[in-house]
Subunit: 214 residues, 2 copies
Amino acid sequence: MKLYSYFRSSASYRVRIALQLKGLPYEYMPVHLLRDGGQQLLPAYRALNPDALVPTLLDDDHVLIQSVAMVEYLDETHPEPPLLPGSALDRAYIRALALEVACEIHPLNNLRVLKYIKHTLGVTEEAKDAWYRHWVELGFESVNTNLVRSGKAGRFCFGDTPTLADICLVPQVFNAQRFNIDVARYPAIAKVFDACMALPAFQQAEPKAQPDAE
Amino acid sequence: MKLYSYFRSSASYRVRIALQLKGLPYEYMPVHLLRDGGQQLLPAYRALNPDALVPTLLDDDHVLIQSVAMVEYLDETHPEPPLLPGSALDRAYIRALALEVACEIHPLNNLRVLKYIKHTLGVTEEAKDAWYRHWVELGFESVNTNLVRSGKAGRFCFGDTPTLADICLVPQVFNAQRFNIDVARYPAIAKVFDACMALPAFQQAEPKAQPDAE
């Protein structure tokens, strides 16, 4: 497999974790989001991924886009260890946590959105940072409440093995830390984050461990 | 089942379509997003759904949040007709289309985000509308390209039966039309939309057919 990735992209980080957890080797194809006016916007990349976003996953000559869809695919094609274990209700809980990050937090914080806020809406750097923090804090409050209320969390978001929920949450915590958000204010998230980061799969997938890390 | 819904919410509309396609009866619990300062923000609703968003689905006393997770759950618990048919690669394509809407378009357009843009960032009504259209147009361009390139689209996004992809796409087209976006500019989307709207399930789930429609 080949993964088109940028070290700091949290959507790319999700798929890197899934590949590591499954023990699947892959070729790392760096796409620099800030060079050449954004390498993800170049025609050759767009020919692969019409979203002009990272990551893109190639399995033989099959092109996959959208990180959460990739993780579901990897889980279907390589079932062990399961990233969506348990009952249908358990999976609904795991997917909901993942989507609280992937639909409610991350889309508001990604590079192209921050650029639009800054350059097209013309707000100050302070207002842009406040926007970023607002959506992370609102989202983390919900995720933390969900983790506590569900009764389903263990060492990880669901029980004692990492799932799609942890795969989405951990990269978002990395992003939050870059914007100086104190994750200790969300104790259930902080606990899961520490448990994940003790695992080699999460360490090997983290931004600083990538070949294109700066 | 009970569905907490707002007639105009496109995330609610997704779940209403899935329930109709599966032939599952449910009780409609209206949550008015504009009354009482937003009924989704009231403590009684937050006690149910920590995201303070619609929809929320109750299956007996089990509470489900996040619309895409609900549709996956309904598909697992009521497999016919399948909303994620085909091979693992087919499902990756279907989920990717759904997430192109659910992660790249809709999060930037929902009510609380538009409120923040208008009231906190203080931009003009025109700039807010331009923001809305920008993300819909960018997203629809990608979805349209994906539909054309994949070779997997038929009458619907995947083949000749509606799937999770159509369930996410159709409500987004409704939203786009409210903001006067000409969907005919995206011919593959327009074709799928027309095919979907010929089906009773999509008609019965549409905003104007809901008990809280205005």
